[in-house]
């Protein structure tokens, strides 16, 4: 069947099997391999993408269900050669080791900061509680998201001051 959806701001149309999972559509049809396929059972959250701005586990969405919707993957976080503050935070605070969970973690962090620009540790831990990291013990991820929150707050202040 034919499916048309927006991925990272571009409208794409493809002929797909109805059973194709969104994670495989992104990786195999569009070559966007930043989205990782982890547990296949909607537990680990490696496959999280933003679906109309909200994090969803793309291993549990059929591609046709995304038809007409707006999907954003980790490839879209960097814009105009500038890393998203969340990406910078993960670099600054060592928010990753192996990197497998990182795309999903960063997208959930992006959605959290869009909704709540100044989350406390508990709010960050709750937001990422559906995603598993086997390296960091989460502490450095929480720190990375806080780093991004503070950077964005400073950027906003700078804009207000100017």
């Amino acid at each position: 069947m034919q499916v048309t959806l927006t991925v990272n701001g571009e409208v794409v149309t493809r002929e797909v099997e109805a059973r194709l999972l969104l994670v495989h559509f992104l990786r195999d049809e569009l070559g966007l391999t930043g989205t990782h396929a982890g547990c296949d059972t909607s537990n680990c959250g490696a496959c999280v993408v933003l679906y109309d701005g909200e994090p969803v586990k793309s291993c549990t969405v059929l591609t046709p269900m995304a038809g007409g919707h707006d999907v954003r993957t980790v490839e879209d976080l960097e814009r105009d050669d500038r890393l998203d503050p969340v990406q910078q935070g993960f670099m600054e605070c060592h928010g990753l080791q192996c990197g497998f969970c990182t795309p999903g973690m960063m997208l959930t962090a992006r959605a959290l900061l869009d909704a709540e620009p100044d989350p406390d540790e508990q709010q960050i831990r709750e937001a990422i509680s559906g995603q598993i990291c086997r390296c960091t013990g989460y502490t450095s991820i929480v720190r990375s998201v806080r780093w991004a929150a503070e950077r964005e707050a400073a950027d906003r202040e700078a804009v207000d001051a100017s």
Binding site: A18, V56, T60, L62
Partner: protein
């Protein structure tokens, strides 16, 4: 790699259209909403379906929380996240926020729906217990019109409901009565895991402060514990007291038939059934008292 078997997909443009599709496609067709129970089951080939009818576009008809006089109506497509965040539900039905905090995880809650949870009828699922505890009824629509069934009639056992092949659950109706409150509690091992045991309780008091009605529902301790009538019978007419709640806990344990597994031994789960029953009844009683105080001071 887990993928579902080949299937056909159709997107419904109205409830009527969804029913017509189900009618035409027959028993191998099923509604998909959030898909977070159904799609994993299809991947594991635990369920075989040839057609999926996607109802995610039917916001106008199926996605709502309406607090009305004497009744709360919740559309079947209401997402877990909206149930969790709804301020409108908190005063009368705080049990929803209690339960939703511990259902799956925030990402899954962005997709999963009330109707999907009830129609899945997993015995470890929370909202079936919540709705049964509240004395809710379910509105089921088919070609020949609408019918309303109680949660007891709706839930027929694990993975079985009263919804027929060409029917759709459209909304849940919860009666509101004065001097009442409710609560939910779950013990789980980690975020997003199934419950070891969960319990919901609802209390309704009469004008003299005695228990007019009480309901308790359990999850994950056996096939038929979403409502435990023996507890209602034992508590009616009594004062809300620790003694009465402890007795209800014993009845809850007796009604449970848990199995020993990786989440705990049967004995531990039975202990939890009693303890969580006691805690949620106590919490419901406290909430009734708190609201009475608020009203007095207002």
């Amino acid at each position: 790699m887990q993928v579902p078997a080949p299937l056909e997909y159709a997107r419904a443009t109205s409830v009527e259209h969804a029913i017509a599709l189900l009618e035409r496609l027959g028993e191998e067709a099923r509604i998909v909403a959030g898909g977070h129970s159904l799609i994993p089951m299809m991947k594991l080939r635990l369920t075989h379906l040839e057609y999926l009818v996607d109802i995610n576009d039917l916001h106008d008809e199926l996605d709502f929380i309406r607090v009305e006089r004497g009744e709360v109506r919740i559309g079947a497509l209401t997402r877990h996240r909206d149930l969790l965040e709804s301020e409108a539900l908190v005063p009368e039905l705080p049990i929803f926020r209690d339960a939703e905090r511990v259902i799956a995880d925030p990402v899954v809650r962005n997709r999963g729906t009330l109707g999907g949870s009830l129609c899945q009828a997993d015995p470890s699922e929370d909202l079936s217990s919540v709705c049964t505890t509240l004395g809710a009824s379910c509105v089921i629509r088919g070609v020949s019109g609408e019918r309303v069934v109680s949660m007891e009639e709706f839930y027929r056992g694990p993975y079985e409901t009263a919804v027929g092949p060409a029917e759709i659950l459209t909304e849940v109706r919860i009666p509101l009565r004065p001097h009442s409150s409710n609560a939910y509690a779950k013990v789980d091992r980690r975020a997003g895991d199934w419950a070891v045991v969960a319990a919901g309780a609802a209390l309704w008091l009469d004008d003299d402060g005695l228990i007019a009605d009480a309901r308790v529902g359990l999850a994950a301790v056996g096939p038929n514990t979403t409502g435990i009538p023996a507890i209602s019978e034992a508590l009616r007419g009594r004062a809300p007291s620790e003694e009465a709640f402890a007795e209800a806990g014993e009845l809850a344990a007796a009604a449970s038939s848990p199995t020993t597994d990786g989440r705990g031994s049967a004995a531990y789960k039975r202990h939890l059934a009693a303890e969580l029953t006691r805690r949620t009844l106590r919490r419901a009683a406290e909430r009734i008292a708190d609201r009475a105080l608020e009203r007095e001071s207002a």
